[in-house]
């Protein structure tokens, strides 16, 4: 964008103007290796460990490189232990890398400069920052003074967040009396009061029911749209990723495996499609056409190789008295799971 219109930056639309500023998050060869004490079972090993600790180096993140443009929402995927949280912690300044560089809004995160900390946030779905014994509003007020949010701005932002997340009555209840979902909504609000430009979300919907997941999802989309914030999020729920992220970065065993559009990832790892056809009854043997997954009330579900889909569909329509036909991609979870399995070294 910048290259196309270098002379007149003011004429760019707001998102284009944002992008013209270059990447917000830049990661270059980032690596993190943990040193862990190994604990073997048995009395002998325990006694030996008193004098000599067996240490092992565990690479958590290994040489990953990617960047994010302003206003992007990127899904950060990988199975448990892939290195997602470690990466998010490095990007928010909680961990030093073993090797490599990263900048977030021009700052080196692990220097933890105040100007950097004021512009970012990290939400960890399994940890909480709210003071446990008292109402969330007290923690919000504390964040107001910590982030030096002017009182008028604070009131306006709080009002917006209260509406978007439906916080109303929750604000004055002690945190320990809130349900998991209610607490998560308050956690997110507390983390966003200072309007961070870069938002790191680590499993923001973990353990929540479908309705609550959907609400948080639409809130993240709305926050991103309204404030042009850049969001990097991990989630085990593919619905989150599918709804929010056009682009995904996939890591596995600390290695970066894929960086691109979600649609491309799916295309790459979708080797099969399912074809559902409605026939009169479940009497026919359709194994010649593809793997029969099920048949109920005459509705067959077949699994066929992606490349063969058109040919098999044609044959089915020609050979059988088909009342109805539907071609579908397999569920996204299945595809991602397959991707991880295939990549397993």
């Amino acid at each position: 964008m910048a290259g196309r219109n270098p002379g007149k930056p003011d004429s760019l639309s707001p998102p284009a103007k944002l992008r013209a500023a270059g990447p917000v998050v830049k990661i270059q060869g980032l690596s993190k290796t943990y040193t862990v004490n190994e604990q073997e079972a048995g009395a002998k090993a325990t006694i030996r460990a008193i004098f000599h600790r067996q240490k092992t180096e565990v690479p958590a993140v290994d040489d990953i490189t990617f960047s994010m443009m302003p206003g992007e929402i990127v899904g950060f995927l990988g199975p448990n232990g892939a290195g997602k949280t470690t990466t998010l912690k490095m990007l928010s300044g909680l961990l030093y890398p073993t090797r490599g560089n990263a900048t977030v809004m021009g700052h080196v995160p692990w220097k933890r400069e105040k100007t950097f900390l004021r512009q970012i946030t990290l939400v960890m779905g399994q940890r909480n920052q709210l003071v446990w014994d008292i109402a969330p509003i007290h923690s919000f007020e504390l964040n107001r003074v910590i982030y030096r949010i002017p009182l008028e701005d604070y009131r306006r932002i709080l009002k917006e967040l209260t509406e978007l997340l439906e916080l109303g009555p929750l604000l004055v209840k002690p945190v320990r009396n809130l349900s998991l979902g209610e607490r998560m909504k308050c956690e997110i609000a507390a983390a966003l009061l200072h309007r961070p430009q870069v938002v790191f979300l680590d499993e923001p919907t973990i353990g929540l029911d479908v309705t609550m997941q959907r609400r948080i999802r639409s809130f993240i989309a709305e926050y991103n749209k309204r404030f042009g914030a850049t969001v990097l999020m991990t989630s085990h729920y593919m619905a989150d990723v599918a709804a929010l992220c056009r682009r995904v970065v996939v890591i596995h065993h600390g290695h970066l495996l894929f960086d691109g559009e979600l649609a491309l990832l799916l295309q790459k790892f979708t080797s099969h499609k399912t074809i559902s056809i409605q026939l009169g009854e479940c009497q026919a043997d359709l194994n010649a056409y593809g793997e029969v997954l099920s048949c109920e009330d005459g509705r067959y579900t077949l699994r066929v190789p992606k490349a063969e889909t058109a040919r098999i569909t044609e044959r089915l329509l020609a050979d059988l008295p088909v009342v109805d036909l539907l071609v579908e991609d397999p569920p996204i979870e299945e595809v991602i799971d397959r991707a991880f399995t295939e990549w397993n070294p």
Partner: protein, 267 residues
């Protein structure tokens, strides 16, 4: 500076709200704070009475005064950060504190000031009651009473900073409770909580005064009791200032190293 002041005021409100969530445990905790010195008071009064009404320079009435003042000084300088830190690290609260653009020590300072503002008036009333009940006698002069105030404030600053430094051991080890136990044992013995230092062997007295312990509790207590001359009090304040300076240095260095260790290992 203004924003730091606002932070303190807000933390005061937070602490106030938290403390009133747990009124019953607050009362139980305060009873504990009274009971410990009360036990020592009764033991020493009994020993003193059996010894013809005094031990060393302490009469029975002086023992009563000593332990009652000590109760208030201990309450004023007490912190719980050493018990709290491991939990903060384990539960991830410290990560959230590190994400914020202010040093987490500020909320601890404010938290301590507020909780003491709530508990001290109650304990003072109890102390006055005990002073009458046990016929406490003290020899305070106006000068010493004036010097007691900076002595008490410096004692709090010193104890707070030392304990904040020690609390950071949690960055390196998960066996913090063992360290806490050693520290609190030494404090009990060397700060004058078990007995006035002047009644303990000379070697112990020297150790207590060379180390920071005496200056966190024993010194302000003896000052208000009138057991120290004005010159001695001024020298003591000087020692306290030196220790506070050392403690400030320690907090800064250990914090920097601790965060580095934390950021290297992660939690």
């Amino acid at each position: 500076m203004k924003s730091l002041l606002q932070l303190y005021l807000q933390q005061f409100k937070t602490t106030f709200a938290t403390m009133f969530q747990y009124r019953a445990s607050l009362v139980i905790w305060m009873i504990g704070q009274v009971l410990e010195p009360l036990v020592y008071l009764i033991v020493w009064s009994t020993v003193s009475n059996g010894n013809g009404g005094s031990i060393g320079t302490y009469t029975t009435g002086a023992f009563a005064a000593y332990f009652i003042i000590l109760m208030l000084v201990n309450q004023f300088t007490y912190t719980w950060v050493m018990f709290d830190y491991e939990y903060r690290i384990r539960e991830g609260y410290l990560s959230f504190a590190l994400l914020k653009p202010v040093h987490p020590i500020h909320s601890d300072i404010a938290d301590n000031i507020m909780s003491k503002t709530i508990t001290l008036p109650i304990l003072t009333v109890i102390a006055i009651g005990l002073a009458f009940a046990f016929h406490a006698r003290l020899n305070v002069t106006p000068w010493l009473a004036v010097l007691f105030i900076p002595g008490l404030l410096l004692a709090f600053a010193l104890r707070f900073l030392l304990e904040w430094t020690l609390a950071q051991c949690a960055f390196w080890t998960t066996r913090v409770s063992a360290i806490n136990q050693i520290y609190f044992f030494l404090l009990l013995f060397l700060s004058g909580q078990i007995a006035p230092l002047s009644l303990l062997p000379r070697a112990v007295q020297i150790a207590a005064k060379v180390l920071p312990f005496y200056w966190t509790i024993g010194f302000p207590t003896e000052l208000l009791l009138g057991k120290i001359t004005v010159t001695g009090a001024l020298i003591g304040l000087g020692v306290q200032i030196i220790w506070v300076a050392i403690a400030v240095f320690l907090v800064r260095v250990v914090w920097r190293l601790g965060v580095k260790a934390y950021a290297a290992v992660g939690q």
